[in-house]
Amino acid sequence: MEKKLMPLKEAIERFVSDGDKVALGGVGRNRCPMDAVREIIRQGKKNLHLIGREKGLDFDMLIGAGCVSKVSFALISLEEFGLAPNFRRYAQEGKIEIDEHACGSIINSIRASAMGIPCIPVKGFIGSDVLRHSKTIKEFICPFTGEKLVLVKALNPDVAIIHAHKADEYGNVQLFGSPWEDIYMAKAAKKVIVTVEEIVPHEEVKKNPHLTAIPYFYVSAVVHAPRGAYPTSCDSYYNYDDEHIKEYVQLAKTPEGFQEYLKKYVYKE
């Protein structure tokens, strides 16, 4: 087994390329890989195609920083803090390509990618304008039952970036609590960056193999990033910081304000 523990800078340099399809873990303002998001912005990656289910700050920051050319998503919002300002701005100005999904299609698209199949049947969607505008969801009749469904295309992310609780230096990842799509993403992507709160000795992994949620061979880089999800939450370590998010919303109302936010919280590191 190869040691994959490396600094965040190296992980992003080596495993995120301009133009990559990038799946980001977490949901809403919970366990999003924010340290990685900040590093991607610092490295000025371009033309990323972001993939995620119900995303917020992470997507909005990357969009505002000009890193993103396309988004595949079911929802991008700051929950009670309102619409995601950069996402809204870029979408309304036609500056990013919109691949709108519902949770059921984006999740199954990631799952199909993990399963190594090019598409997967999914229920629902018929009658929704989401289907009418989609290039990645098509109507389909089951040849066994005659049932009308849709087929969702596997999005096959190039990179998955997730923030987890623990890993050993080889990339055996322990992920407790809400899994969201993180495990599927790690199995779906060609390259996988995992930032973790704690690095644990390999012996601890071997003592509890049933706790290994993502075995090492899926993982390209392990980064020790305590509080790496901040200002989103990492359950059993820290909660989200709503004051920070409020400041974000206030500043990101304008492109200039967003630059100020980046200066204060991203470029300073």
């Binding site: 949901v27 809403g28 303002r29 919970n30 289910r53 119900e54 998503f73 079911a74 929802l75 991008i76 919002s77 929950e79 009670e80 619409l83 995601a84 996402f87 809204r88 979408a91 309304q92 100005e93 036609g94 919109i98 709108e100 999904h101 519902a102 949770c103 059921g104 299609s105 999740i107 199954n108 799952r111 999914v122 229920k123 629902g124 969607f125 018929i126 009658g127 929704s128 304008d129 989401v130 289907l131 505008h133 009308k148 609590g177 809400s178 899994p179 969201w180 799509e181 495990i183 599927y184 939450s233 359950d235 059993s236 909660n239 989200y240 709503d242």
Partner: protein, 256 residues
């Protein structure tokens, strides 16, 4: 006992849950979250409660602001990724989900995607989360904290969540197996859908609200029955539970 409209709406949503139901609560769903906990605490102890924290039957000491937050894992019996809750839904085993909307039309179609043109929208909304998927085959209850004619429109700009599409038997004709919006619960009233035309119909007005208040704040012709009762208010026990589990007024989030 005095109560706020958020508390009334939570009580109404809870009443949509029957004992034994499997119910999913989504992201940014503060009132549905509390409604699920309320139902499970009182009349639906055997309800299976799924949430956006992927926890099964959590029993939190208090509710969090983010409805996917770590608090929503407390005292759960298992974790189940949303993917698998959706699998249950596809198997016909999920009973109900509460869905929000920026626009709702008379057939219960909902929009959470765009105001204006899809490719160059006037307003880019967040996206419908589970809507286009789940509304295509299961029962939903729509909740609207601000009942006005900007929300209740003649025609939605974009059907994110399928209601009854063009009404009548449109769903059947499109091959949509079943389901559809069962109720619409707002800050003014409760509505359902007339079985034949699938047009929205007033069921009850909240205490202090008149039928005219509802009509004047709805951008399409609502079916008004001859008699419109007043909505049953929450009980003292319900209010006590809501206030004890929500000391931080998470339930007021959508009214600020």
């Amino acid at each position: 006992m005095e109560y706020k409209v958020s508390e009334l709406m939570i009580s109404l949503m809870a009443r949509e849950i029957k004992d034994g139901d499997k119910v999913l609560q989504g992201l940014y769903s503060p009132m549905p979250m509390i409604a699920c906990l309320l139902a499970k605490h009182f009349h639906a102890p055997n309800m299976v409660f799924f949430n956006t924290a992927d926890a099964v039957d959590p029993d939190p000491s208090e509710v969090p602001f983010s409805t996917a937050g770590p608090k929503l894992q407390e005292n759960c019996v298992a974790y189940l990724p949303l993917a698998e809750v959706f699998d249950l839904a596809q198997r016909g085993e999920l009973s109900l989900i509460f869905l929000g909307a920026a626009q709702v039309d008379m057939y219960g179609n909902t929009n959470l995607s765009v105001i204006g043109d899809f490719s160059r929208p006037k307003v880019r909304l967040p996206g419908g989360a589970a809507s286009a998927f789940l509304c295509g085959f299961m029962d939903t209850v729509i909740w609207v904290p601000r009942h006005n004619s900007k929300v209740f429109v003649e025609k939605v700009s974009f059907i994110t969540g399928q209601g009854y599409i063009n009404g009548w038997d449109t769903r059947e004709r499109l091959g949509i197996p079943k389901g559809g919006p069962r109720k619409v619960i707002t800050n003014l009233c409760v509505m359902d859908f007339e079985p034949k035309t699938k047009k929205m119909r007033l069921v009850s007005v909240h205490p202090g609200v008149t039928v005219d208040d509802v009509v004047n704040n709805t951008g399409f012709d609502l079916i008004i029955p001859d008699e419109v009762p007043t909505t049953e208010p929450p009980t003292k026990e319900e209010l006590e539970f809501i206030r004890s589990i929500d000391p931080n007024n998470v339930r007021e989030l959508e009214f600020k």
